[in-house]
Amino acid sequence: MSLLEVSDLDVRFALRQGEVRALRNVSFSLDRGERLGIVGESGAGKSVAAFSLLNLIASPGFIAGGSIRFDGQELTGLSDRALRKVRGNRISMIFQDPMMTLNPVLSIGEQMIECLKAHRRISHREARAIALHKLQQVQIPSPETRLDQYPHELSGGMRQRIIIAIALLLDPDIIIADEPTTALDVTIQAEIMALLLELCEKHNVGLILITHDLGVVSQVTQRMLVMYAGRVIEQGPTREIINDPQHPYTQGLMNALPQMATPGERLNQIPGSMPSLSNLPSGCAFHPRCGFVNDANGQPRRACLEQVPDFVDSGNCRVACHMVAEMLEEEQRLAKEETS
């Protein structure tokens, strides 16, 4: 059994104009030490998924259904006290903006020691020693002085290293990294990702990496999910998805990479923008933007307009697309005819 198993997760926000479904039927799993990427545009529900894993969605959001099993324990419906034992201790999280995630009025040491003391019964001296050790692990120059410094005295890259050190503080089983490098400049991005990857491999820590950077996902993760409008639309081994994306949306994302464009031409982009979650199109949420919505006769496929696609297995990947399903059926039919 996997370390983390999420099945049919359904998250809603109760707004004045009615309930908005931010996540629908999201299922995935993570093995010990495995690294999973979650990819999608802004508003696809990536961050909501991350927060709901720790049951930290702020009201008016709530988990309406589904289950999150971590190490054999069901996390949904757990009391706040019991959840606090998991948060930070067994699953920790790294946020997007290192400028904002550290408390400006507490020194680095105080923040780290406090986190340790909240979960373990240890003395101040022991906690300080552990904090120092973790700072050394994230390769911060002169860690001893950093402990007494305040966040504003450190650079962005250094702060993100400290945040990684805090995430590793209690030797968690899983780290959720929500766009950990978006706020940093490119050279430091690479350094931080390399550090995170190295530490996860060394300590056998599972990583859930949320990002819209397909390059980072392909370098770091073993499996990936592609999300669109609150649903998972394609999942499988990262290499296979990157090399041969099945879903038209994933293909669009790959095409939109600057490397895929001809120099001097405009970049390829997916026409239109992500629909509002409160006003989703019928059928497949992607159909208004999809280039493959028409069938062989040039007419829009009725299924795409009316029916939410189910997952079909294509090789090692699972894809939710009527077009792919049709193609697979066609292939199977041809294969059958050949054998008969």
Binding site: L56, K85, F95, N103, D148, I166
Partner: protein, 312 residues
């Protein structure tokens, strides 16, 4: 050893701070702090500084009453600032009275701050029903003026426990009354900044670390909301001293046997027409100077603590 490191860095941080930098360059702040410290020191050293003990009835001679201060004809050398209507040495009684006023002012502000900061923090951080109840309480509290609360509480206490009980515990009663009447000022300010702080990512990060609400509120959010608290504290101390003086002037505050600046002003007020103006005006001047320097210090502190007001 670790504590030594942190104290030296703390001192170094203070030495390099904008607070000290600005203080060194603002002569009004230096002057105000100097006057304020002089007044506070003089007030709290009153038992050693004052020529007589005004609380000791044996040292008072009614025949010495209404003697003028030293620069006026008819002054007695022994009484530098003259005497009041009961023959008490005015200098001594002003020193003792300033002490009473300061104790009530600071005491009331500490009480206000404890109540207001706690309620504001709870209301802002927990939100929802707690917020609604606490803030409506604050609104109700604000709709009564301090004077009205004082009159009602004073009347009830005097009626139930007797006026000798009231005058015995007058300092505590005044602290309680002024403290209870003004806590919403703190609660509102703190709540507003907690609401702003709550949505910052470090609060999410603290929750992700698995810290409990209480720890997040008091360890993480509270220190980030303290600078407006410091600023309103100065104004509130001045206000509390004035409130106390007003209550005493109306006869609802300190008894004449144990006067504060306000009750001194009141006791002298009856004699102002008969030429003994000093009994009222000298304590009045001390009160004005005390409140003025506190307010000026508060203004300076507000300018320093609000980065948007930095003057280039």
């Amino acid at each position: 050893m670790t504590t030594q490191v942190s104290t030296t860095t703390r001192w170094a941080r203070f030495r390099d701070s904008y607070l000290l930098y600005s203080f060194k360059r603002t002569w009004s702040a230096q002057l105000c702090l100097a006057i304020f410290l002089c007044l506070v020191l003089a007030a709290f050293m009153a038992p050693w500084l004052a020529p007589t003990n005004p609380y000791d009835l044996r040292q008072i001679d009614i025949l010495d009453s209404e003697l003028p201060p030293f620069w006026i004809e008819g002054a007695v050398e022994h009484y530098t600032l003259g005497t009041d209507a009961q023959g008490r040495d005015l200098l001594s009684i002003i020193l003792y009275g300033t002490r009473v006023s300061l104790v009530i002012g600071f005491g009331a502000v500490i009480l206000q701050a404890i109540l207001g900061v706690t309620f504001g923090l709870l209301a802002g951080y927990l939100g929802g029903r707690v917020d609604a109840i606490l803030m409506r309480l604050a609104d109700i509290q604000l709709s009564f003026s301090t004077l009205m609360v004082a009159i009602v509480v004073g009347a009830v206490v005097k009626a139930t426990l007797g006026s000798s009980f009231y005058s015995q515990y007058a300092v505590l009663m005044l602290i309680l009354i002024i403290g209870l009447a003004e806590w919403p000022q703190y609660a509102r300010t703190v709540r507003a900044s907690v609401l702003a702080e709550k949505s910052k990512e470090y609060v999410d990060a603290a929750r992700v670390m698995g810290l409990g609400s209480r720890r997040i509120m008091f360890r993480h959010v509270l220190p980030n909301t303290l600078s407006p608290v410091f600023v309103i504290s100065t104004v509130q101390i001045a206000n509390a001293i004035i409130s106390e003086a007003a209550l005493s002037f109306l006869g609802l505050g300190m008894p004449e046997t144990h006067p504060s600046l306000g009750s001194l002003i009141k006791s002298g007020f009856d004699y102002i027409q008969s030429g003994s103006w000093w009994i009222t005006l000298i304590p009045g001047a001390v009160l004005v100077v005390l409140v003025l320097v506190i307010n000026l210090l508060g203004d300076w502190l507000r300018d320093v603590m609000n980065p948007r007001l930095y003057k280039g």
